[in-house]
């Protein structure tokens, strides 16, 4: 049964508020809210939307929201999810830009952001660990992961190029471990 558009909007609004930083910071929130709490999508689907959202134009968080909204409620769900995820930004940034810019230097706020940044790193580590257990199984998977990480940290490869290279690796044998 499809969920209501209002529910889609409200849920993405809530997730937008708690996203600090880029689209990657949103992945742990999408996972705990949409995969674990609401059970709207599976972990595999979430990762698929993220992979595709990486090489489609625009903001990754918006691409992922659009995908999930479409799966739940077609075109109107896509619009509701996108408007939901951008609404907090519009409200908060307009408030900050118009009235509160001087408060951004506030020491307590800076300490709070310091704590939030640490929690975002911890959330990313745990989400990668969970998805690793589900998605990294074959020798080829290990190789792609290690090469990708090496290229990102020491090479100068764009995310889009990396995803395209990984996609091409889908056509080489995967050397699945175990009895399968």
């Amino acid at each position: 049964m499809p969920v209501s558009l209002w529910k889609i909007y409200a849920l993405f609004f809530k997730m937008g508020i708690f996203t600090f930083g880029g689209g990657y910071a949103m992945l742990p929130i999408l996972k705990s809210e949409l995969v674990e709490k609401q059970r709207w999508i599976s972990e595999e689907e979430l990762l698929n939307y993220y992979s595709i959202g990486q090489c489609t134009p625009g903001i990754i968080a918006v691409n992922a929201a659009s995908f999930i909204g479409y799966q739940k409620h077609g075109l109107s769900g896509l619009i509701a999810a996108t408007l939901g995820v951008i609404s907090p930004s519009i409200i908060i940034i307009l408030l900050v830009a118009a009235l509160l810019q001087q408060y951004m230097d506030n020491q307590y706020l800076q300490w709070a952001f310091g704590g939030i940044r640490v929690s975002v790193i911890a959330l990313i580590i745990n989400v990668v660990w969970d998805l690793w257990l589900k998605g990294v199984k074959t020798v080829r998977d290990y190789a792609v992961f290690i090469i990708a990480l090496g290229l990102l940290l020491w090479g100068n490869v764009s995310a889009v190029m990396l995803v395209i290279l990984a996609a091409l690796s889908g056509f080489i044998p995967s050397f699945r471990r175990g009895a399968e």
Partner: protein, 172 residues
């Protein structure tokens, strides 16, 4: 008609910035020379604020830049224009994916991309860590949070609120 110019410029950014919010930064710098809506110094401040305020950083920057150019209506116009290309492209891709998701080659490609996307996410975490894990206090708190999240499965939102409070208490 500044709103039409804003809409066009941010539509183009949304269409050509592939790979997420920070990819839009060079496009925003290009606007400085073309329109003088803001200075490079102002844009640098806007990016810093967008990274620490709630919301995806790419959206925050679009709203902020639009506001600087043409007030609050400008902020809304810029943001909506930047997400419009995403919505159109994802609409057609999602339809195609639903039709083809059982296709052998599509499955092969999607499965193959996963480890690379995990590497991308981990590398993003590494980037944040390089700037935020600066002493024993932050390193210890990170270790504590990783273990806590692993053993106590609470929503990510609970941990973000908790970390903000701890950040103030411990002066992180």
């Amino acid at each position: 008609m500044i709103y039409a110019i804003l809409a066009w410029e941010f539509f183009k950014i949304g269409l050509f910035a592939v790979g997420g919010g920070l990819v839009t930064v060079p496009f925003l710098f290009n606007l400085i020379d073309a329109y003088h809506w803001f200075t490079a110094q102002e844009l640098t401040d806007m990016i810093a604020i967008s990274q620490s305020t709630p919301g995806p950083v790419g959206i925050n920057m679009a709203t902020y830049a639009g506001f600087k150019a043409a007030g609050w209506v400008g902020g809304i116009v810029a943001t909506l224009s930047e997400v419009l290309p995403s919505m159109i492209v994802v609409y057609f891709l999602a339809r195609a994916l639903n039709k083809w998701h059982e296709n052998k080659y599509v499955l092969q490609v999607l499965t193959a991309i996963r480890p690379a996307v995990l590497a991308l996410i981990l590398a993003a975490g590494w980037q944040i860590a390089r700037e935020s894990i600066t002493d024993y206090k932050t390193a210890g708190f990170l270790a504590f949070l990783v273990a806590a999240q692993h053993f106590y499965r609470k929503s990510a939102i609970v941990y973000i609120v908790f970390a903000a409070i701890v950040g103030v208490v411990l002066k992180l």
